[in-house]
Amino acid sequence: MGADRGIHVEVDEKTILEPLSVAKLFSAIAKKENPNLIIMGKQAIDDDAGQTGQMLAGLLDLPQANFVSKVDIGEDKLLATCEIDGGLETVECSLPAVITTDLRLNEPRYASLPNIMKAKKKPIDKYKPSDLGVEITKRLETLKVAEPAARKSGVKVESVDELIEKLRNEAKVL
């Protein structure tokens, strides 16, 4: 576990960063760094957006595989198993590519003590959005947040006839 160096894009504490802004920042960095593979999480735990990786791939015009729970990385392409609503989808992408990961992808190892100590000395380059030529102003406004209607309690019927009558006339599914 671990990395050789880090890049920190500094924004003001109070800034609300939207997925497109983040994707644009990463896109600018990717153009500097030319990575062969970009690994992102599938969705953040604060906004649950699940958009950034996909947008980044779009901005960089790179292939993408999302919700990846298994990946085999070859010389110039990768084979990914993606968790989708209906089951599992296998996707092949040429490299460079963007993948967004599902928790089932791997089991993190323990970081060793010597590596934790070394991490403190590794370089972290810092940028501001303006250094990267990226505008991060908020474009979206949340108008309303509401819970879905609460599930109503059911009704006990006395006979099959009554069931059919309700299904036809009340639930209107027959």
Binding site: Y110, A111, S112, L113, P114, I116, M117, K120
Partner: protein, 378 residues
């Protein structure tokens, strides 16, 4: 090291302890072994060389951070962690006092726990009166011939390297030297495995030297007469380490007591609602935190190499091992009858921490060290 960074290491060691050690501590106690793969995992994370210097290939932690790591590991198994601390002492001694050739030969493998180490000072006739030890080492050409018996040696018989304190000169401390004795040495044998009340995951045996041949290259530091000083310096750190193990065990016991008393119901309510339980828990928490404070302060003083470090380590060891055994014992009481069953871990923390009041220098000797330091400066 900054508190923020110490916290990170504490989290790592605690996670390791709770996931890799705690689920197995009952089995290791009952079957009396530590699996090789646990030691391997521990060694890849650096747990065999916490305070070996960075130059020596170690993690290079200061003594206070080391204490924090051992405390965390002890939550998972006191006995196994206690052995790790003894191994760490051996690796540190080679790093701190060894010649370049000795470090070349042994340090990396000790650091990675490819070689396990045992510290051999105590004899049947010399425990508290350590400097009266009678194991002899007579020079004979390019060898030393060692004769004597060491008793109560942790991991004796299973270790690869034995650091043996033996008499090369006259009586008293200045006549003692330290030798690196490899397991396959001619004339080295081991006694039966002792049957103990606790510390069962690691074997304890006598180490028997009968015309045991040790190369002159293996005189630690290459100089006779330094052995006692090396041993005592090793012990200062060893005392902090053992106290840290007591703290980890007491921490785990207190948490267990809190859980049990909030779940156990008698007389129509959780027993944690009774004032006696509340006062017990408060006192236990107070003693636990006082133990942490005194041990960590002693660790800082040892790190700073100040003259009062030795007495501080002794004071911390005595206070913390007594207080923490008491916490484990009280926790057992708060569990009621369940505390006495081996299905519950609290009895193992109690049994394992009991011996910390004895080894590494009895708490009575600790009081002598402390009182001498105080009265001699009057």
């Amino acid at each position: 090291m900054r508190v923020y960074d110490q916290k990170e290491l504490y989290e790592l060691a605690s996670t390791f302890a709770l996931e890799e050690m705690a689920p197995n501590m009952e089995k290791w106690d009952k079957e009396e072994f530590i699996p090789k793969d646990l030691l391997e995992k521990a060694s890849t994370l650096g747990f065999g060389k916490l305070y070996v210097s960075e130059n020596g290939g170690g993690v290079g932690l200061d003594r206070e951070t080391t204490s924090v790591v051992f405390e965390a590991l002890s939550r998972g198994c006191v006995s196994t962690t206690a052995y790790l601390t003894l191994h760490n002492t051996c690796a540190w001694m080679v790093d701190a006092f060894g010649t370049e050739a000795q470090k070349e030969m042994y340090l990396e493998k000790l650091g990675n726990m490819e070689y396990l180490g045992s510290y051999c000072l105590t004899e049947p006739g010399s425990g508290s009166d350590a400097m009266s030890l009678t194991t002899t080492a007579k020079k004979d050409g390019n060898k030393y011939i060692l004769n004597g018996t060491k008793v109560f040696i942790s991991n004796g018989g299973d270790s690869d390297i034995y650091l043996v304190m033996a008499r090369t000169g006259g009586p008293g401390p200045k006549g003692i030297s330290t030798f690196i004795v490899p397991k396959d040495s001619v004339g080295l044998s081991f006694g039966k495995k002792e049957r103990k009340v606790g510390w069962n995951s690691q074997p304890t045996r006598s180490v028997i030297l009968e015309d045991c041949e040790v190369s002159v290259e293996n005189l630690l530091g290459g100089e006779e007469g330094k052995g006692f000083k090396f041993a005592m310096m090793g012990l200062d750190g060893g005392r902090i380490n053992i106290a840290s193990c007591s703290i980890g065990g007491a921490d785990a016991s207190l948490r267990a007591a809190i859980e049990h008393t909030t779940v156990r119901n008698q007389f129509g309510q959780e027993i944690s609602k009774f004032q006696n339980t509340q006062f017990e828990i408060a006192e236990m928490a107070g003693k636990l935190n006082a133990s942490r404070a005194i041990v960590r302060q002693a660790a800082r003083l040892l790190e700073a190499k100040v003259p009062m470090a030795t007495a501080s380590c002794a004071m911390a060891k005595q206070f913390a091992t007594d207080a923490c055994f008491d916490i484990c014992n009280r926790s057992l009481q708060l569990h009621g009858g369940y505390g006495y069953l081996k299905d519950y871990p609290v009895q193992q923390y109690m049994r394992d921490t009991r011996v910390h009041q004895i080894l590494g220098g009895t708490n009575e000797i600790m009081k002598l060290v402390v009182s001498r330091s105080i009265l001699n400066s009057v």
